[in-house]
Amino acid sequence: MKSEKEIAGTLSDIQKMMQRSSRFISLSGWSGVAAGVCALVGAAFAYPIIEDSSYELIRLRDAFQYHSFSLSAYMQSRLFKIALITFFTALILSFLFTWLRSKKTNTPMWGFTARRLVFNMSVPMAAGGLYILKLMEAGAYVYIAPGCLLVYGLSLLNASKYTLDEVRYLGYAQLLLAVINLFFTGYGLYFWAIGFGVMHVIYGIIMWYKYERVSANTD
């Protein structure tokens, strides 16, 4: 006869194994906070440029008209440079914190659950990113920020099936901001900063509080 404790342990093992084998659960809350801070810093740099930006926007538009689709044309735009730096800094920092966490939880950082997550996140992001570049080319600048939020929100929604379930709510929040932004065009940077900045920070803190606080204390 098995003891109560043994049976409860077995059942919780089953549950853990089911989660471990289907989702990438080492996503760190600090990754969210770091990405959010990057976004806010990026937005702060972009703000003065966009504010007196007729010049910058014309330059961006000219770049498209005369060079069509070329990387060097994009790189001439300060805004585009800021966007790239922001994106890669956020990406590297979130990888770093998640890597640290995966060492703690003893799950492989680049295991098959992680690969599946990255794949399911990247496909909508890449297709959506290309669409946004085309929006820029067409000069539809006011739809860029809601476009980013929309693409990111849908990507998160898709990715949430392969990682912590809470990611889904972050996705809903981005989608909501995107939709509201569509009716308040011209305030794109503010919505962008709330979505990519504030939301990430809030999400990160909640996730840290929920999953990492306890283990940090017992270490």
């Binding site: 093992d13 089911m18 098959f112």
Partner: protein, 99 residues
């Protein structure tokens, strides 16, 4: 209570076999290497447990190739799904009766 003990499946007594079944219940199929990664066990160990589950008709094995490398994937059978669910129900019942 006597009934629930009968429903406990001897095959699932092993933690590793239970782990294999749990993982396969939530993944439509998994490769040998993915399984090894999740269970963090050695080759020989995994092979013997997989074999016993296969012999009992609880999982099916598909052998394929990726390029020149063999790629073996596993999935749970209808019988395996049924037995596993019955096992969990039995465990839960036992837990209830003990409380």
């Amino acid at each position: 209570m006597a009934i629930s003990i009968d429903n406990l499946n001897k095959i699932f007594d092993s933690r590793i076999r239970l782990g294999i079944m749990s993982a396969l219940m939530v993944n439509s199929s998994m490769s040998y290497n993915e399984m090894k990664e999740i269970l963090t066990i050695t080759d020989g160990n995994l092979a013997s447990h997989v074999k016993s589950l296969e012999e009992n008709g609880f999982i099916k094995v598909q052998k394929g190739f990726i390029g020149k490398k063999t790629n073996t994937t596993y999935s749970v059978t209808k019988a395996g799904e049924k037995a596993f669910n019955a096992h969990i129900v039995a465990l839960e019942q036992m837990l209830k009766s003990l409380k």
